[in-house]
Symmetry: C2
């Protein structure tokens, strides 16, 4: 049984606490948060504290904190040589104070409050300073997910950048699609199955092979007709730039 | 029982023929294609012809043709006052020659050869010139899908434009994500669950509310760090433009 202390009570912390509680392979011995207010959702059977000097003994201390709080809080820890991990996609391992053994436990997913998450499908990116700690982290990850990967700090930083493209920017394209539909009294839900299929296709095809549309087949007539239909300048610029990028990727001449 | 003649033997035609064959509410009386070669995959029990003068009698003639062939082929039809529909997202209803009754039967999905499609979830956009023909088209759509919508030619054109954003451009962002991963020896499949969740979220949240990431929270430090990490200029431009567009949508100052 792996003993875990969670530090922080925000969005990720609440999701982790929920899934840790269900796992038979680990136990939450304590949740720490600076202010008591945010600890109020923690159920009665998990001990909580707002005093960092009173942390319980555990195998792993998980920092679920804002990126810029990791360094400071890890320095305040009242012990040495224990395994401390942060959960950030962007902060390097060595932001954690080196008086303790350091690691990273980064669940690669976008967490929304109030939305249930199936952790078994979420990839957990792990980093540690030695094989024994990595083994502990793999056991911890294995308790909640079927997918864990050893990813170093440099790779994790790159992964976070790639995630911005496939998640944040993709969602913004959905927003533009919904905005275009709204302007013309079309229910956006007509596009939901297409969006679903666009993601689903990646199970069988690489994104390079899955590409379709006017830019891919260099259909200048349709491209120009679409540009004429757009009267929002930002949307027009995005249409042009992404079309050019697709044409470039498939070796066609420039727009 | 609705009697259908399919004209064309390409990608969409093959998918439609497959699903029409399974439906109890309609029957394919014939498939026409100009060249015999592409008709070879049609199974023995469906009559085929390469001679447009020998079309069988049917309730609906479905043109599964390239956009620019619709006008010409509809003019060549050897009869009048029958219901002819095309299946294009971009071509207006009146591209079909007016010697026959005209309509549109547009399944809004991206079809890839060899990939099975669940038609029941695909929205079918319908247009007709009178209520009786619309009723026939609704019955046809109902035989294969649970979702049909009355969409006029102008709305369909707009829908096709919105689809380029949420499908073609989104897929290209997946490609950029995979390209970034490849450059740093990271398996792209780590991002699959995130991509899946990005699409899945739309079931519960509007894309406006689902937006997360550095641009949404105006995290200039992370944005600049990401821009520094990108050495592909096109990718850098796309990052900048989409970040600006998100900041604009959420009322933040410009990058």
């Amino acid at each position: 049984m792996i003993k875990v202390v969670v530090l922080g009570a925000g969005n990720l912390a609440s999701h982790l606490i929920e899934v840790f509680e269900k796992s038979k392979e680990l136990t939450i011995v304590q949740v720490y948060n600076r202010s008591a207010g945010r600890l109020s959702y923690i159920k009665g059977n998990i001990p909580v504290t707002t005093d960092i000097r009173h942390l319980e003994d555990a195998d792993i201390y998980i920092l679920c904190l804002a990126d810029d709080a990791i360094e400071e809080v890890s320095e305040m820890l009242p012990f040495t040589n224990k395994l401390i991990v942060h959960t950030s996609g962007t902060v390097p391992l060595n932001a954690i104070n080196n008086k303790n053994r350091r690691g990273v436990f980064y669940p690669l997913q976008s967490f929304t409050t109030d939305k249930k998450v199936d952790f078994t499908a979420i990839p957990i990116c792990l980093e540690a300073e030695n094989t024994e700690d990595m083994s502990t982290l793999k056991n911890l990850a294995g308790g909640i997910s079927n997918h864990s990967y050893e990813i170093n700090s440099k790779q994790r930083k790159v992964l976070h950048l790639a995630a911005v493209f496939v998640n944040n920017f993709t969602n913004h394209l959905f927003y533009i699609g919904s905005d275009i539909c709204k302007t013309h009294q079309i229910p956006f839900k007509i596009l939901h199955p297409l969006i679903h299929e666009t993601a689903e296709k990646l199970k069988d095809l690489s994104p390079y092979d899955a590409q379709t549309g006017p830019a891919r087949r260099n259909d200048i007539k349709t491209i120009n007709s679409h540009l004429n239909q757009l009267d929002n300048n930002t949307q027009k610029e995005i249409y042009k730039l992404l079309t050019q990028s697709i044409q470039k990727a498939y070796g066609r001449e420039k727009l």
